[in-house]
């Protein structure tokens, strides 16, 4: 396997890996999902299955219910109709216990250091501060954040904050990561850098990932498979196999052969679904 220079060294399974066994149920299984807020239909007829360690990108126009979909999967909401199972369990509490959610805004706690923010899930489960820090510190080293452990969120750039937010999600130790537009608030250059960083991080710590984004390129670069949602009420209108490009430098991928073609198909589906 080839790694990019900036990418974290692939040294998997340092964090407990609940998906290591064979013959597991799909990480996510959604059948006939529909959800409405009162009169407003947000999602209608979504079917989706995500294999353990598979990265699925979800793209769609603004307001197509992408964020709602993640809240439904995570167990923060119950759907109006349909069935959602995470790791084979449909119960909301069980879904909550198996999925980690990374919101669009980093929502780092300003009074905690970067290290304590990353270790928040451990502390929430009752770990002592020293133990939580000891567990988080090696990850800072591996993911290129060494030296920033004691920094406060206000002292960090947007990109750095998103890295800490991703580590916080990862450190929850859950088999499913739900990423909601993680880089939407970053400038184009930082976003490209962060995509590469995230690609390396996912390779180093394989998880099932559902990545919601409005950026087709981002989805195609990071994901194994991309699902295109229509505008409200959101339905899956296309499903594309992505080039599986996470292991290569982003610049090579997005300018490489094949990428333009699949990108064109994704955009066409997006335009079709937005009509």
């Amino acid at each position: 396997m080839q790694t990019t220079p900036e990418a974290p060294v692939a040294e998997p399974h340092l964090i407990s890996d609940p998906d290591a066994r064979g013959g597991d149920p799909p990480a996510v299984s959604i059948e006939g999902l529909a959800h409405s807020f009162g009169e407003l239909e947000a999602l209608d007829g979504v079917n989706l299955s995500v294999a353990p360690r598979e990265v699925v990108g979800i793209v769609g126009p603004s307001g197509c219910g992408k964020s709602t979909l993640l809240e439904l999967i995570s167990g923060l909401r119950e759907p109006t109709r349909g069935r959602i199972a995470v790791g084979g369990e449909a119960d909301a509490e069980a879904r909550l216990a198996r999925s980690a959610y990374m919101p669009q805004r980093d929502l780092l706690l300003p009074w905690l250091s970067a290290l304590d923010n990353a270790a928040l899930a451990l502390r929430n489960r009752g770990a002592r501060r020293a133990a939580a820090r000891a567990e988080a510190a090696p990850l800072f080293e591996r993911f290129g954040l060494a030296g920033f452990e004691r920094a406060r969120p206000a002292e960090l750039s947007g990109g750095m904050r998103q890295r800490i937010a991703f580590l916080r999600t990862l450190m929850s130790g859950k088999p499913l990561l739900l990423l909601d537009e993680p880089f939407a608030s970053l400038d184009a250059l930082t976003r490209a850098e962060m995509q590469e960083w995230l690609a390396g991080a996912i390779e180093a710590e394989p998880r099932a990932v559902v990545l919601v984004t409005h950026d087709v390129e981002e989805a195609l670069y990071l994901a194994d498979r991309v699902v295109v949602l229509s505008s409200r009420p959101g339905r899956a209108v296309a499903e594309l196999a992505a080039p599986g490009a996470r292991r290569r430098p982003r610049d090579h991928v997005v300018t490489g052969p094949g990428f333009a073609e699949v990108r064109h198909r994704a955009l066409a589906a997006l335009a079709e679904g937005s009509r």
Binding site: D106, P110, W111, N124, R125, R168
Partner: protein
């Protein structure tokens, strides 16, 4: 903030203060103010006479200031404990909040100061009624501001804490309470300013010590320099308490209002 703009921040109001004191000194010594009000000149002491009274009666002023300071700090402390506790309770229980919050707001239409005489009847002339008045006055701003802070926590942050395996209580202690801390401080700063008013009013309603008591005595005996001296000590004390709270706020709640992630 740079040093120059920091000192300019202090310099400008200080210059105004000095100019005002100078004008007062001249007006008082020439008898301009007394003539304008048609009263005896000794009823309007000049700043220098007030300063003399401050020095000459320093022991008396210190004793009474100590009595008033205790009333303010203890009453404020009671309100702080009760207010933070009450705000937490109302935040965590929707039922209690719906039942009690409107009553809490409505209770503010009762002017607490006018019930001071009742409290004196109940608790006597000691520190009791003063603590009650100060605590009652301080309770409202502390409770309402803290509750506002807790209610304005980003709902996404609460959701995030749930997916990070936080119990309701841990979400409160790790995310909501620190977010609300700057709000609690702004409530406490309002409270400490009105606490001084409450203590003086409590003393006016019946007491045998304290700066409020001293002011009544000095006023009755037409000792206007001492009366003004008591006002100066009281104001300085209020400013010092407010300043102490602001300093503490900068140390323990430096992230400020609305920065909950």
């Amino acid at each position: 903030m740079s040093r120059s703009s920091g000192s300019r921040r202090v310099l400008a109001p200080a210059a105004v203060l000095v100019a005002a004191l100078g004008a007062w000194q001249l007006a008082a010594s020439w008898g301009v103010l007394a003539d304008a009000l048609s009263i005896e000149p000794f009823l309007i002491p000049s700043p220098s006479e007030i300063a003399e009274a401050l020095w000459a009666d320093r022991e008396l002023l210190a004793e009474d200031a100590w009595v008033t300071l205790r009333e303010v700090v203890l009453g404020f402390g009671l309100a702080l404990v009760a207010g933070l506790g009450f705000a937490t309770l109302l935040h965590l229980s929707d039922t209690l909040r719906r039942a009690l919050y409107p009553l809490l707001v409505a209770s503010q239409t009762v002017p607490i100061i006018v019930i001071a005489p009742i409290l004196v009847v109940w608790f006597g002339f000691g520190i009791g009624p003063k603590l009650a008045i100060v605590a009652l006055i301080c309770f409202f701003p502390i409770t309402v501001n803290t509750l506002d802070g807790l209610r304005s926590v980003d709902p996404d942050l609460v959701k995030l804490m749930r997916t990070l395996d936080a119990t309701r209580w841990r979400t409160f202690t790790r995310a909501e309470a620190p977010s609300a801390l700057p709000y609690a401080f702004s409530g406490a700063k309002i409270a400490i300013a009105v606490a001084v008013i409450g203590a003086v009013f409590g003393e006016w309603s019946g007491s045998d010590a304290g700066l409020g008591h001293l002011m009544l005595q000095a006023s009755a005996q037409l000792e206007t320099p001492l009366l003004f001296a008591a006002v100066v000590v009281l104001s300085a004390g209020a400013v010092a308490l407010f300043g102490a709270l602001s300093l503490l706020e900068r140390r323990v709640a430096w992230w400020g209002i609305g920065n909950d992630g």
